[in-house]
Each structure stands twice: as structure tokens, then as C-alpha cells.
């Protein structure tokens, strides 16, 4: 798990699961697990933009970038490198 993934894991566990991350695996679909819905995606994007000083474009708001903790971590790494 990269540092980005660890931070995102903590954020999602805290924000969406109130600290209960027993069922939060880094490669599980957040949508299919029912952890995140479309409003939740906006919360994740807001967090990424604030935490990492990046701007997420409309066409970047896709599952390939945002649907798993691993995907989000890789997306952040690409954006800020």
C-alpha cells in the first residue's frame, strides 16, 4: 500500500465508515460495496482537491480513477507527479 493509498484508506474509513474499516479492501469497488454513492464521489473529489492541491476534471471522474482505493491512489500519484 502506497502512502497515498494509506491516506485515502484512512479518509474513507473515517468519513464513510466511522472508523470501522474491517470490510474496506483496497481493490474492492466502493460503488458495488455500497460504501460510496454519487454524492460520496463528490466528497472524495473534494478531499483529493483539498488534500493534494489537485484539480479533478469532469472527464476524470470515472470509476477507473475513483472506484477503488488502489485506483484513487494511482490517480493521485499521476496527477501530482
Amino acid at each position: 500500500m502506497t502512502n497515498f493509498e494509506a491516506e485515502i484508506h484512512r479518509f474513507i474509513a473515517d468519513k464513510f465508515l466511522f472508523g470501522d474499516d474491517k470490510k474496506l479492501a483496497d481493490n474492492d469497488s466502493l460503488l458495488e460495496a455500497g460504501i460510496v454513492d454519487s454524492t460520496g464521489i463528490l466528497e472524495i473529489v473534494a478531499h483529493l482537491e483539498e488534500r493534494y492541491g489537485m484539480k479533478v476534471d469532469n472527464d476524470e471522474m470515472v470509476p477507473e480513477n475513483l472506484d477503488t482505493i488502489a485506483n484513487i491512489g494511482a490517480f493521485v500519484k499521476r496527477k501530482i507527479s
Binding site: L31, G34, D37, S38, T39, I41, L42, E43, V45, A46, N58, M61, V62, P63, L66, D67
Partner: protein, 331 residues
């Protein structure tokens, strides 16, 4: 899913006389045996759903026991008052006018809404109109991401995606409308020892197209089991005015005219009804696509969207969660 060789849009054809009688009987029995109330209050907007609901209520218990509440506000469509008066007069029910603009002003709705829009579209100002919309059906819809469309007095349109803060601010503010209207419905219900009839159709009820404790609240929902297509059939059977029947479905919520297919559903209601029916009855996407003018891929996307909306709006249907059961009180 299985193909159904005999599937056609006729699956939504209703035995109107039988259905109307069944609904009316249920209304009477519910009022007498379960709700113990003497009449019904219906919020009427001139739209097809509230008009059919009011008509069924009036035929069920008599027009003298139905109150039609007209609750326009600053952003109501120009024809809302005329059409809601038309249906009330046609049904010979009492109509009561409560303009909710002052109430919305008092809770700061207009200021809050304008501030939220301006945070995304700084040009938005006096004389501008707006609405929120979804991406079109051919756009990637893994996530339901709303955009704001603002129109200047000169007719220039600007469209931008809503971020988290502005989306939540707009939804929270706009929900005032439905909740204030429901508050007034219950005021008049309590004052008359009546119950409140809700007006959602099946698509709206199933897909969570309502505001919790706003238009989602009611004592009885006479048409919640009917597809919108069937609501129109009943409207004709009940002899409602043509002006009501021919009015395009609208949310009547935002200052810019907004179809329900822009705001919540991806396609017009006729196609959505068949898609919802197909989803509920296991109709395969190839079969359904031939009848709704969509590609199998689009139908599959709608099937997935139906599931997604059911999941994300489940909480709108939920009663309060009791931390511990109270077995003496359960319904």
C-alpha cells in the same frame, strides 16, 4: 434475463374501470378503518399525478370531502395556477391557495439558492434563471453528477458541473419547497380531521424521486403502484381536462423549465416506464430495446441505473431506526 416473446408496450395497458374502482375502494377503507379520518387533502399543481390523485379521492369519498391545496411560489411555471384551478373546479373540490413565496423567503431559500449557484457561475444574478440537469443517456453514467444550467435575461446559457458544496447547498435549499408544502398539507388535514394523500407514481416512488418528509410524506398514496403511462390512461378514463393531460411532465421546481428526464430520469417517461417494467419482469435488454427506441447498451445502462437509484434512495423510504425494538408498537 429471459426473453419474453410476447412482450410489448401493451403490458402497461390498464383495465381502467376496474383499477379506478379498486383504488377508490382502498381509499374509503383506509380512511374508515386505518386512518380514521373524514376526508383528504391533496397538494395540486395542475400536473397529471396530483390531478389523477385528486380525481380518485373526489370520486371515492365525494368532492365535498377533498381539499385541493394550491401552493405556488416565485419559480412555479406560468400555467401552474391556471391548471391547478382548472382541475379543482372540474372536480368541484374546495381549493385553498397558499402562496409559499413568503415562507421560502423567511427561511432564506432564495438567497441560499442564489448564493450556491453564484459559487459555480459568478455571472448569475438578478433576472437570471436556472435548473439542475443530469448527463444525457449516452454519457458515461457510472456516477450521477449534476450540473447547473443558468440562463441570462438575454438567453445565454451557461452549464457547469456542481461540486460537493454547491450540490448539497442547492438540494438542501430546494427541499424547503416540498417540506413547506407538506407542512401546509398537514396543517389543513389536522384542521379538518382529514388525512393527506400523496401523489407519487410508481416510477417516482420506486426510484426515490421525492424529498424525505417533503412530497415523500403522506398518509395514503393512491397511485404509487401505477406507471406514469397508466396514470395518463386513468386520467382519460376519469375524463380529466385535456389541458391537464397534454401538459408535458415537469418538475416545476426550478426557474428554467425542466423536464423530469433532465433532472432525474435519463429518458422520457414512456421509455422509463417500459424499462422499469422490463427490469421488474426480467425482460432481456435486446427485447426491450426494440420497443423503447434505445440500444441494448443504453437499456443495460438504465437497468443498472434503476438498481443504483434503488440502493442510494433506500434511506428515503426508511422509517426512523429504533435502536431497540418496541414490540408493543409495530405496524
Amino acid at each position: 434475463m429471459n426473453a419474453k416473446a410476447d412482450f410489448s408496450p401493451d403490458v402497461l395497458l390498464l383495465d381502467c374501470p376496474r383499477e379506478a374502482e379498486s383504488i377508490k375502494r382502498s381509499i374509503r377503507e383506509s380512511l374508515a378503518s386505518k386512518l380514521h379520518r373524514r376526508g383528504l387533502v391533496v397538494g395540486i399543481s395542475g400536473g397529471i399525478d396530483s390531478s389523477v390523485t385528486a380525481a380518485l379521492c373526489a370520486e371515492a369519498i365525494g368532492p365535498d370531502r377533498v381539499i385541493g391545496l394550491q401552493m405556488p411560489e416565485r419559480h412555479s411555471a406560468d400555467d401552474t395556477m391556471a391548471l391547478s384551478s382548472l382541475i379543482a373546479d372540474h372536480l368541484r373540490i374546495q381549493k385553498v391557495l397558499c402562496d409559499i413565496t413568503p415562507t421560502l423567503e423567511a427561511v432564506g431559500y432564495y438567497a441560499k439558492y442564489d448564493e450556491a449557484v453564484r459559487s459555480i457561475i459568478p455571472e448569475y444574478g438578478p433576472g437570471w434563471k436556472s435548473k439542475i440537469v443530469l448527463p444525457g443517456i449516452d454519457e458515461d453514467r457510472a456516477y450521477t453528477l449534476y450540473s447547473i444550467v443558468a440562463g441570462s435575461p438575454q438567453g445565454v446559457l451557461i452549464k457547469k458541473r456542481l461540486d460537493l458544496r454547491s450540490y448539497l447547498a442547492i438540494v438542501a435549499a430546494t427541499n424547503f419547497k416540498q417540506r413547506i408544502r407538506k407542512m401546509l398539507e398537514y396543517y389543513h388535514a389536522d384542521k379538518n380531521n382529514y388525512a393527506v394523500a400523496g401523489t407519487p407514481n410508481r416510477l417516482e416512488y420506486d426510484q426515490g424521486f421525492f424529498v424525505k418528509l417533503g412530497d415523500g410524506a403522506a398518509d395514503i398514496k393512491p397511485i404509487a403502484h401505477l406507471y406514469k403511462t397508466q396514470v395518463y390512461q386513468l386520467a382519460r378514463h376519469l375524463g380529466l381536462p385535456e389541458a391537464i393531460i397534454s401538459r408535458p411532465p415537469t418538475t416545476d421546481t426550478y426557474s428554467l423549465p425542466q423536464g423530469q428526464d433532465e433532472f432525474y430520469f435519463s429518458v422520457p417517461y414512456e421509455a422509463m416506464d417500459l424499462c422499469l417494467y422490463g427490469k421488474n419482469h426480467g425482460i432481456d435488454v435486446e427485447t426491450l430495446s426494440r420497443h423503447v427506441g434505445l440500444t441494448p447498451k443504453q437499456v443495460l445502462g438504465i437497468y443498472k441505473d434503476i438498481d443504483k437509484k434503488r440502493s442510494t434512495t433506500k434511506y428515503l423510504h426508511m422509517p426512523p431506526i429504533l435502536v431497540k425494538a418496541i414490540p408493543e408498537i409495530s405496524y
